[in-house]
């Protein structure tokens, strides 16, 4: 069945360092969504990418959707302690968002 893989599973960085998490789907996606889950919290929507090759920025966060619409990345520049959490990518199964297939997530720890 359709799978969404994410790497790395864990990442420890010093505050101020950059961070990147990568997401790969076994099938072409109509869109990809990114969510952040703080420790003990619930997933919170960050962004949705729809177009092939799309790049979107939110302050220090840069999101990319691959040309083949099978992979995506999230890059954080100059991490801060507030960036701590698990970042999940999720893609629709079937293309209509009725069911999202989630990656395992990348847990980010930031040392002050």
């Amino acid at each position: 069945g359709q799978q969404v893989m994410q790497i790395p599973q864990y990442q420890h960085v010093q505050e101020g360092e950059d961070f990147t998490t990568y997401c790969n789907s076994s099938t072409t996606l109509s869109n990809i969504q990114w969510y952040k889950q703080r420790p003990g919290g619930h997933p919170v929507f960050l962004i949705q990418l729809v177009k092939s090759g799309e790049v979107k920025k939110q302050k220090r966060l840069t999101f990319q959707f691959g040309e083949a619409k099978k992979n995506s990345s999230l890059h954080i520049t100059a991490t801060q302690t507030t960036d701590v959490g698990t970042y999940f990518c999720a893609g629709p199964a079937g293309g209509n968002n009725r069911k999202l297939i989630w990656g395992l997530g990348t847990s980010l720890a930031v040392n002050p």
């Binding site: 969510y35 619930h42 997933p43 929507f45 949705q48 968002n97 009725r98 069911k99 989630w102 395992l104």
Partner: protein, 113 residues
Amino acid sequence: EPEVTQTPSHQVTQMGQEVILRCVPISNHLYFYWYRQILGQKVEFLVSFYNNEISEKSEIFDDQFSVERPDGSNFTLKIRSTKLEDSAMYFCASRAGTGGEQYFGPGTRLTVT
């Protein structure tokens, strides 16, 4: 800002008992979801609900699970006979229908003993 609410925040039950987890989605949303997350693991899709019926369900969502929207505001997940492996955080989410963003509730932590 509107938000999804869930009750209770924590439910402890004995194996074999029935539990009902409750959710109030955002009022003008049309699509509703239940997910579960075993501690430290990924978010797992259980079921989606639209127009008063299930639109998708996962392999996890077997005959022990059911969902209802009994009164136009609440959205419930029932587990008929809980098993130890049902222990997890259960999240409800809703979506407006335009775009993909899903809004998650704070979750119910279910502990089966």
